[in-house]
Amino acid sequence: MANMKKTLGLAALTTALMALPAFAADAPKLDAGDTAWMMTSSALVLFMTLPGLALFYGGMVRTKNMLSVLMQCSLITGLVMVLWTLYGYSMAFGETSGALAPYWGGLGKAFLHGVSMNSVSGTIPEYVFFVFQMTFAVITPALIIGAFVERVKLSGLMLFVGLWVTFVYFPIAHMVWGGDGLFFAKGAMDFAGGTVVHINAGIAGFVGCLVIGKRIGYGKENMAPHSVTMTMIGASILWVGWFGFNAGSALAANGTAGLAMINTFIATGAALLSWSATEALVRGKASMLGAASGMVAGLVAITPACGFVGPIGGLILGLLVSPICFFFVTTVKSKFGYDDSLDVFGVHCVGGIVGALFTGIFAAASLGGVGYAEGQTMGGQFMVQVEAVVTTLIWSGVGSFILYKIADAVFGMRVDADSEREGLDITSHGEVAYHY
């Protein structure tokens, strides 16, 4: 998301942004309207994870694993909130000096040290800024699990998540969003976290499904979603919540938020349509699961772009992303045979990359976008975007691999075969989802 400093940085270069009243004020002062919107946005982003993402994913697994998915999302939520409070916020948004300053924010704000009810961040209470950012830290690792549900071991997963947010997410968040962060200087455009959240989680999931291996019976047994209804509810909630994610990333209720919002509507509607159209062309029938996948693909792709591209750019981006993701979740996945169970890679990583790259293009003022920083060209910006994507893929890919191995060595990352057969709900949680 565009934190204050970042937005101010870009604003200096973009006349459009300078006209907004919010930026006219010199000394930051709490604004009730902005605060209202950011509290709403924070609630919306939590809503995305619980129950949004949990249902989107949960609907796609078999009944016997439903609760394990809901539970993994819930526990990740609790764990990351606690870690964020203890040191995560400080690592990501604290300020430190010295050689490590580009990589983390230090521990100065650990345990919310020095932050009070009267602390203000931009025009909103710092507490609200804290929770808004926290909801991003929560959903990112929750996204990862889609790649290896139905077989992952809970203790190993929780250890992995604790390590991953500490060594991958918090540092990357600092590098991208922290005013003195490493990537910030390079001028990569990522309005609401396409890189930090989606590419990051997508590649971590991909590595995870390779490390953990395929489900027993994969490709042979029927692994049809146990409730496409739940998946549709989840996707819809994701859409609604994503307005908080994207328009909330303006950190104010202003014209930029309005731009992020209109894009989050139009690109998603377009992606929904184009996924369905692709299915109709390729298979003769458009499925609800496809439409839900299209919604999410559109949301992912517009995330980095939503505050930079114009609505027609958003529309085109939405139309483009679905066929590309469709190609990955059908052709590419089946060709290489990895079991990325709920297509975290095919939708989040690929959709995130498509979004990041096209942001570099559609941000051009000539294409209806807000324009580039002074002196930057489309080609130049595109290369910056490529660099940001590649760096994230490598950092998160390699980091995740190491952390999976550690968690695997300590607790194991996979349940035994009998438990997998019987289902994680009974074997890991001692309960079953439905008694109709």
Partner: protein, 112 residues
């Protein structure tokens, strides 16, 4: 006594039940089953994965009647459940050695 087992199309259940009641059948057990036969199933596709579902939803009736009524029951089911399309179902008849009504302990034909 005979046990008559019939697999029929689900939407025919109500009609068959009425027809059987009309000829004096006073009880039955109905189960939703997956039928496999010459009627073909369908294909489901979820993202990349394609599943051929070879089973078709059917309803199974199990009815115990006196020997005397058995033929009529079979015939009634056959004529009522028939739609002349593939997958209309089958009827099987088995011998029953004895029957008991739980509530009263009555046995055999008295139990039906």
């Amino acid at each position: 006594m005979k046990l008559i087992i019939a697999a029929i199309k689900p939407f025919k259940l109500e009609e068959v039940r009425e027809a059987l009641t009309a000829i004096g059948v006073r009880g039955m057990m109905v189960t939703e089953i997956k039928g496999f036969g010459s009627q073909s199933g369908h294909t489901e596709i979820y993202r990349g994965a394609e599943y051929a579902v070879n089973f078709v939803p059917k309803v199974k009736l199990e009815i115990v009647v006196s020997d005397g009524l058995a033929d009529q029951v079979v015939e009634t089911i056959q004529t009522t459940a028939k739609t002349d399309k593939i997958g209309d179902g089958k009827i099987f008849v088995l011998d029953v050695a004895s029957a008991v009504r739980v509530r009263t302990g009555e046995t055999n034909e008295d139990a039906l």
